[in-house]
């Protein structure tokens, strides 16, 4: 039953800002352990789509399911739902007044109501997995961008979500720091998470993505394996986009 449903499923998602339709019927599913890359021109609605998945934006219509359970509509325990869906932002958004450890433990302690000792043990474990256990007592301002982003990933992972959303996780990083973050993302996937990634890291998409989705004008224009989309794009719009970004 639940096992044969995708971990994340979007059906007929629509969203407008004022009179501007941004998402015009998105159908997409991500399975357990699958990394799906979303590509598309600026303003095509990639972030909006991701933000609908944990209802930071409220979709106008359509349904979203996580592990087969609807998370759209009324009567959904929003805060409970959000713990099953981790999100990583382009600008990290670490809490500057808390240490790395404090950033990771906050939701465990205040939402999951775990006792301090248990939360800290789990947080140290999560920081260890992103290679930053030694920085547990550092404040975000004392960390490099790449380290901050890895702490942000640990913060989301520590809640043991089943879906992870990444919105341009490496776009704000110096090129030499990108690799560490991508390495951590591979680890995340190895743990069996369903991952939906908006990113311009084409090389990484080619190597690591299970599927690439090209979005333009609020709809999915084309999707397939990285090979299919990058080497033999079927749609003219995809070809035009790929041509532009490879210049």
């Amino acid at each position: 039953m639940i096992t044969d449903r995708p971990t994340l499923e979007l059906r007929g998602l629509h969203k407008s800002f004022g009179a501007d339709p941004i998402l015009r019927g998105i159908d997409l599913s991500v399975a357990r352990g699958e990394m799906v890359f979303v590509l598309g021109p600026s303003g095509s609605g990639k972030s909006t789509m991701l933000r609908c998945c944990n209802r930071l934006e409220e979709p106008d219509s359509g349904e979203i399911f996580v592990e087969g359970k609807p998370i759209t509509g009324t009567g959904v325990d929003l805060n409970g739902m959000r713990q099953r869906i981790g999100m990583v932002f382009q600008s990290f958004n670490l809490y500057p007044h808390l240490t790395a450890l404090g950033n990771v433990t906050l939701a465990m302690r205040r939402v999951q109501k775990k006792p301090r000792a248990e939360a800290e043990t789990r947080a140290l474990d999560a920081l260890d997995r992103v290679g930053l256990k030694a920085k547990a007592d550092s404040y975000p301002a004392q960390l490099s961008g790449g380290q901050q982003q890895r702490v942000a990933i640990a913060r989301a992972m520590a809640l043991e979500p089943s879906v992870m959303l990444f919105d341009e996780p490496t776009s704000a990083l110096d090129p030499e720091l990108v690799g560490d973050v991508l390495a951590v993302m591979r680890e995340v996937r190895a743990e069996g998470m369903a991952m939906l990634v908006v990113s311009h890291e084409m090389k990484f998409a080619r190597e690591a993505a299970d599927r690439v989705v090209f979005v333009d004008g609020g709809v999915i224009v084309e999707q397939g394996t990285p090979e299919e989309v990058f080497e033999r794009p079927r749609e003219a719009r995809t070809r035009a986009f790929l041509g532009r970004i490879s210049e």
Partner: protein, 224 residues
């Protein structure tokens, strides 16, 4: 020269009235502490309430803040002290001074903390909400700590400016530093008690002014 020192530094007068002015120092310090605590706490609570953006509630908070920031505190003090008894509310001069200045500080603190809350990046809210924290939890654990840090310098300056206004209590007979000094001055027909009062104010407030300068450099560095 000797007429100058007789007028402003008359040792006999100073010795006679020093004890009562010292009592005034106690009153001024007590009032200041109460006003700062109440004003900052009430102002912060109002700013938090306002962040829930309940129309009617926000409207009343803004009206309160604007009126108490617009009126000269002396007007409020006289109005409360001489007006309230007419409707059966009789308060001591100490209480009137405390309440009025605490509310004035609360009005300013509300605006200052509100500015801090709105200046906290939207990404902080989103990160916290995305991990399942509720609105109030996000406000309390993530946004307010950052907002307060940001506004410590202006808040400290405003708190000092308003505690200095405890001297206005003189006009309704509060026995604070200035109240005691003016009484002593009229009994002794000599300005030396006022000199002593000035010294007392400097001793109390100069360290606070220095502290605020230190906070300003410290927290403006932290924010950058």
């Amino acid at each position: 020269m000797s007429s100058f020192s007789d007028t402003f530094l008359n040792m006999d007068v100073l010795a006679r009235y020093a004890p009562s002015i010292l009592k005034g120092v106690g009153v001024t310090i007590l009032l200041s502490v109460l006003i700062v605590l109440t004003g900052v706490v009430v102002g912060t609570l109002l700013a938090c309430l306002r962040s829930f953006r309940v129309r009617l509630l926000s409207f009343f908070i803004v009206v309160f803040a604007d009126i108490f920031r617009a009126l000269p505190p002396l007007v409020l003090i006289l109005l409360a002290f001489f007006g309230l008894p007419n409707i059966g509310v009789v308060l001591t001069s100490f209480t009137v001074l405390y309440l009025v200045l605490a509310l004035v500080l609360a009005a300013f603190a509300e605006e200052i903390v509100w500015a801090g809350i709105t200046a906290t990046p939207k990404g902080q809210w989103e990160a916290a909400r995305s991990t399942g924290l509720g609105y109030t939890q996000t406000l309390g654990y993530v946004v307010l700590p950052q907002a307060l840090r940001m506004v410590i310098p202006p808040l400290t300056n405003r708190a000092i400016a308003i505690t200095k206004m405890t001297a206005l209590g003189m006009v309704i007979g509060v026995p604070d530093i200035l109240g005691q000094a003016t009484t002593a001055q009229s009994f002794s027909a000599n300005a030396s008690p006022l000199t002593l009062a000035a010294v007392a104010y400097v001793v109390i407030f100069l360290p606070l002014v220095v502290l605020s300068r230190w906070l300003e450099t410290r927290f403006s560095r932290g924010a950058a």
